[in-house]
């Protein structure tokens, strides 16, 4: 053995039982103000309250860096680090064997917007079309956060990223409409500023078999260039202004709106994040888009109301 050689590690990966109801364990290195971390905590609580458990399938994204380095892990449940585009397909395999063996527990994909809107959308669409018995949660921070903040198709118009230095020219992709168009049993949006609504929708998702898609607006102070303490407030404004409406779609056909507009102007959302520059934001267009989004959702919820 030379001076530069060190012994081989002998400890197997720490195998800690999942008795504690804390899905995301203390000691992880996530950023302050990270919306994803709050979402994971809420998911852990929802599973505990339902007496349920899960296997996580996490593609390349902040969510898998969260696990930390071998042999430790920040996740208190079995977790697969999947290839970037593959989490719904890997989850399909895991869930197939769970179901063939009559075993309990959810198989949950936990993916960022890059893995959902961009590289993984074919895989996600196919899993939805097959109505796989999995839950897919996208924590949407509107950016490739893990790689330092590049634009994704979830990045809103006007946002500066490292690959859109003048602000993104295109609007955010409407992933909820895409998923609803697959006629999956359940699709819903989540906001950490509305924890009761968040928890209720998780419970609903846990009770429905088949493909369930949840879209969570996930503040990212690092990428949004916002204050960590503003995270919850920012996504509250997004709901109240009509930027990120809270709603549910059952079977792709029945709609329910979960939060009405508040008395706040969308300008407040932009001015509190340095990814937006005043001169690059068309406030008039943004207000019209919010109004149109809400008008359309109200019309759908009135004409095709969810009855359950």
């Amino acid at each position: 053995m030379s001076a530069s050689t060190v012994p081989r590690p002998t400890d197997p990966q720490t195998s800690i039982s999942c008795e504690d109801d804390c899905l995301l364990r203390p000691g992880n290195t996530n950023c302050g103000g990270c919306g994803m971390s709050v979402g994971l905590t809420m998911l852990g609580r929802a599973l505990a309250e339902a007496g349920d458990t899960c296997t996580l399938v996490i593609p390349a994204c902040c969510g898998i860096v969260t696990a930390g380095a071998y042999p430790t892990t920040s996740y208190a449940v079995p977790t697969i680090a999947s290839t970037f585009a593959s989490s719904p397909a890997i989850a399909s395999g895991v869930a197939s064997i769970r179901d063939l063996n009559g075993e309990p527990g959810q198989v949950i994909c936990w993916a960022g917007d890059g893995g959902t809107y961009d590289i993984g959308i074919a895989t996600l669409s196919a899993a939805a079309e097959r109505n796989e018995n999995i839950i897919y949660i996208c924590y949407d921070n509107e950016i490739y956060g893990n790689t330092g903040g590049q634009r994704s198709s979830a990045t809103p118009a006007g946002a500066r990223t490292s690959t859109t230095p003048q602000g993104k020219a295109q609007d955010k992709k409407d992933i909820m409409s895409i998923m609803a168009a697959h006629r999956i049993p359940y699709a819903a949006t989540l906001s950490i500023a509305h924890p009761e609504d968040f928890a209720r929708k998780l419970q609903t998702a846990l009770e429905i078999p088949g493909m369930r898609f949840l879209l969570m607006h996930s503040p990212c102070p690092t990428g949004w260039k916002s204050e960590p303490g503003d995270s919850v407030e920012l996504v509250r404004i997004a709901v109240a202004s009509g930027l990120f409406p809270l709603y549910e779609v059952f079977d792709g056909t029945a709609y329910r709106l979960n939060a009405e507009l508040g008395d706040i102007d969308v300008a407040e959302y932009f001015t509190r994040q340095r990814r937006f520059r005043d001169e690059e934001i068309d406030l008039g267009a943004a207000r019209r888009a919010c109004a149109e989004r809400m008008r359309r959702l109200h019309a759908l919820a009135e004409q095709y109301p969810a009855t359950n």
């Binding site: 060190v6 081989r8 590690p9 990966q13 720490t14 195998s15 800690i16 039982s17 999942c18 458990t53 296997t55 399938v57 898998i64 860096v65 696990a67 930390g68 380095a69 071998y70 042999p71 892990t73 996740y75 208190a76 449940v77 079995p78 977790t79 697969i80 680090a81 999947s82 290839t83 585009a85 593959s86 397909a89 890997i90 989850a91 399909s92 395999g93 895991v94 869930a95 197939s96 064997i97 769970r98 179901d99 063939l100 063996n101 075993e103 309990p104 527990g105 074919a122 895989t123 669409s125 196919a126 097959r130």
Partner: protein, 397 residues
Amino acid sequence: MSMEVITGNHAAGYALSVAGEANRTARGVACGIYPITPQTEIVEYVANFPFSKGRVVPVESEHSAMAVSMGASMNGARAFTASSANGIAYMAENIMVAGYYRLPIVMVAVNRTLGPPWNIWADQGDSLMLRDFAWLQFYCETNQEVLDTTLLAFRLAEDRRVLLPVLTCMDAFIVSHTQTGTDLPDQADVDRYLPDLDLPHRLHMGEARTLGGLAWPHEGLSMRLEIDEAMRRVPEVYEECRASFQDTFGRDPGAMIECFATDDAETVLVASGTIATTAREVVRGRRAEGEKVGLVKIKMFRPFPIVALQAACRSATRMAVLDRNYAAGIGGIFWHDIRAGFQGRRDDLLIQSYLTGLCGGDVTPAVIDDVLADIGSRETAGDPVWEGIDAGEGAKQ
């Protein structure tokens, strides 16, 4: 057992299916499937098989086909898939991670030319593209060998001393679509040959294990070292699996390398797949004329059986390696590995690369005759020789 006249694809589909069915007494079987010529008949066979405890998932891409199989494998099930050519290229990322996850998945590759130019005929460039991943690779010559090797592959992959995925390969159309008499083993015998899969690192609800997450260089290095150690154990485990196969089915699934008339051979041809069939007949004819010519068929390409090959070529002074594949800027891929394996060991052995049958070209006895004429006239080894095409002025520029 029953003898039926079936294609190589049918043989592969049968082997994958009965191997999956054999795990019904454990956690079952699941796989992702996606069509591509010329392997499509394999996944069609699998999709129509009445599994007692299994699920076949028809997905939207080869990349996802391997992903579904990986998910099933991580949850403790037997898993497999099949693909060809650009499908393998598209699947490549997940093929790579299946090895590093140490998942005992079996894949059948019907070797087809990578496009462009688009071409559906035989060429090994697709599976050999995966040569540096942590997969075992076997190249088969006949329908029976495809069936037997695919069954053996599960036992080998799932052995705890190995725990690596296995690729079983056959030449497009020449094997995949040609019907020959093939012995189909009974399910009961397959059940005896393939024990219930018990994957040591499978997911368990209630156990906080993260598969495939971040590891620092030292931990990552030790995992690569474990793969190297597993690869080095393969020859021994293969021989055990082969002996057990003979006990169960009464038939030899074949050695890692097959030596034909090599004992006193001065010139050795090295080939794989169906080129070996033609080369064997040419060697038989030359032997009848008293020429000291032999043939080594390489069945196992990963891990590369260099020790066995060195032993087989003890008497040889000339070796002609016939490759139905081409590594751009290098030459034949088998030749490249063989040359590296003999480096510093046999300075008296002339090892020459011949590129034959690329893009589905016929490798006829006349081609083998050309190779033997060329190798016999050589003073030294040179650039790869392109058989079947006149290089003319182009090569000199």
